[in-house]
Amino acid sequence: MTTTAAYQVSHLDALEAESIFVLREVVAEMERPVLLFSGGKDSIVMLWLAQKAFAPANIPFPVLHVDTGHNFPEVLAYRDQRVAELGLQLVVASVPEALANGLVRESADGMRNRIQTPVLLAAVEQHRFDALFGGARRDEEKARAKERVFSFRDEFGQWDPKNQRPELWSLYNGRHQPGESIRAFPLSNWTELDVWHYIARERIEAPSIYYAHEREVIERDGMLYAVNEFIRPRAGEERFKARVRYRTVGDASCTAAVRSDADTVAKVIEEVAATRITERGATRGDDRVSEAAMEDRKREGYF
């Protein structure tokens, strides 16, 4: 805690205190919470906060990974390492399995962002989770900027942006009927820069792909995509080596890297503080589909 004589806390401490409050509130009031853990920076920080919220006891809920089958190996390894260290129960909702058993079908463009929603919802139903912690931040995107900390979802997992529950002070209403659920967002009020400042302050290890490294890439729609088993150069696209890092970690088939020399947390902070493009704008093919791509996905039950 950074405090001064005047009983002030730093803004990072204020954010941490608020997030811990939300985590505890969900565990106290909901029956079967689960934390969405992708190995991305937001979910890493959220898991870190969960550890702090219940210490010295263990984290009192399992983690859920929606595995699109398009993974960065470094991130999967990180996930498994973290799960082992904390002795967590890991539930994997697998898109490849759902494809194999016919729950979903591959979409025409090969992107799995949309089809992961039914897979997530099936896992929620199977395990009867009634509260899902998500690492979404309101500064990420204009539809997220509108969402409550406790976001009510109907029995189809859908968000109704025109009919959200009033949410006053820190009194969160998690009441729901069987089958309905709450998405809880402890990091609602954090920005990308806050997340990195916190990673630095707490000395949290993040997957290596968040730091600058050499990678073979191609340029597509103005973004740099790593050449891997999911992304192959198309006609006219040339492979080349570049020094890059990832600002977000999502589905490996639609998440792009950015040119960067930031190979330490300090340099990442400098870079993020100076950047003029949002993280999703810089790296996400899936958000470019339409003006309201995120809102539409959220209505369908996405995070």
Binding site: A17, R175, R276
Partner: protein, 435 residues
Amino acid sequence: MTTETTAEVGAEAASVRPMDLLRFATAGSVDDGKSTLIGRLLYDTRSLFTDQLAAVEAVSAARGDEYTNLALLTDGLRAEREQGITIDVAYRYFATPRRKFIIADTPGHIQYTRNMVTGASTADLALILVDARKGLVEQSRRHAFLCSLLRVPHLVLCVNKMDLVDWSHEVYEKIADEFTAFAAKLDVPDLTVVPVSALHGDNIVSRSEKMPWYEGPSLLHHLERVHIASDRNLVDVRFPVQYVIRPQSTTVTDYRGYAGQVASGVLKPDDEVMVLPSGFTSRIAAVETADGPVPEAFPPMSVTVRLTDEIDISRGDMICRPNNAPAVAQDIEAMVCWMDETRPLQLGGRYVIKHTTRSARAIVRGLHYRLDINSLHRDESAGELKLNEIGRVRFRTMVPLLVDEYRRNRTTGGFVIIDETTNRTVGAGMIVEAG
């Protein structure tokens, strides 16, 4: 798990100095320029990203707007863009070297008043916008009243669209006077008035040359400097127990900690405390966080308190001081803002009250009056409160609540009302009296 390699350097670079956080909300009638003002504030402080700006420029251009509609920066929902109004609160973030800001841009339309209340409930400061051409309208008064009811500690009246009234000093004075007179009837501890043009950026980030008669600071200058540290209550110790931490572990044995966020006051080891509703007293053995014990805890810290005695404490109990305790009450008088369009609040109505970390079934025992927002007249013959109506209500709760007057404590004085049949949040209450 930590790495001493990459993270080490970062920790120093990011030595985060205690920069404070100001939460503010917009308020005022529909179309008076709230979202435009927020867009302008973000634009002129260079807080916008190029892709965000490009996206709203493209939408504006496609719609044939003559200028880029900066309101689109916060009006992010499909329906909002179709209708050209704000429907629900948008949260935006920016920082200057002096402060960090969390903005809640709220809707002006009366239908969405509950969303305005949502945004204003946590605000340190509210910007009330008024269109200089129209002056105060009912909705400006309603929002000003709600801000005072919610005890937003600082209000700023922004007389907007000054460009459309020829930057007229008289128009400004007239609105400022009228608002000041109205505010005098309310409980408004701090009021500042600024003439602005949200569209053109006058007096938003820097002082405008168009209005030499105005001698005050720009809006941003005020937001950066308004004194908020004293708004917190550091006197009354109130620690609502949120969660009991009792590790089932072979390495940590006999641990019992009471986790929660300090609502007010300062807690220190060795302090004598009382636990409500039981009334048992004990001493604080330690105030802990995951990083170890701390010498004291105060708002808004989330901590775990351990006591020297084994007493039965659970979620919903409150730790306070023996000589300074909240009321233990089942009869509660509150100002209620009703937020449900389907069913009005009625005498004899049964609800659930959620107050701090405690919930209780409650029945409406009395409706003293309904308030007319324009005249502040009290209608004592009212039999119900409909959507967006405000009145003074008496509740009887099934179990005691541990309450303070809202004017003394925003956390232990506020509650929400939940309809058990729909699970919706249907009202907000601010405690006036408990007995």
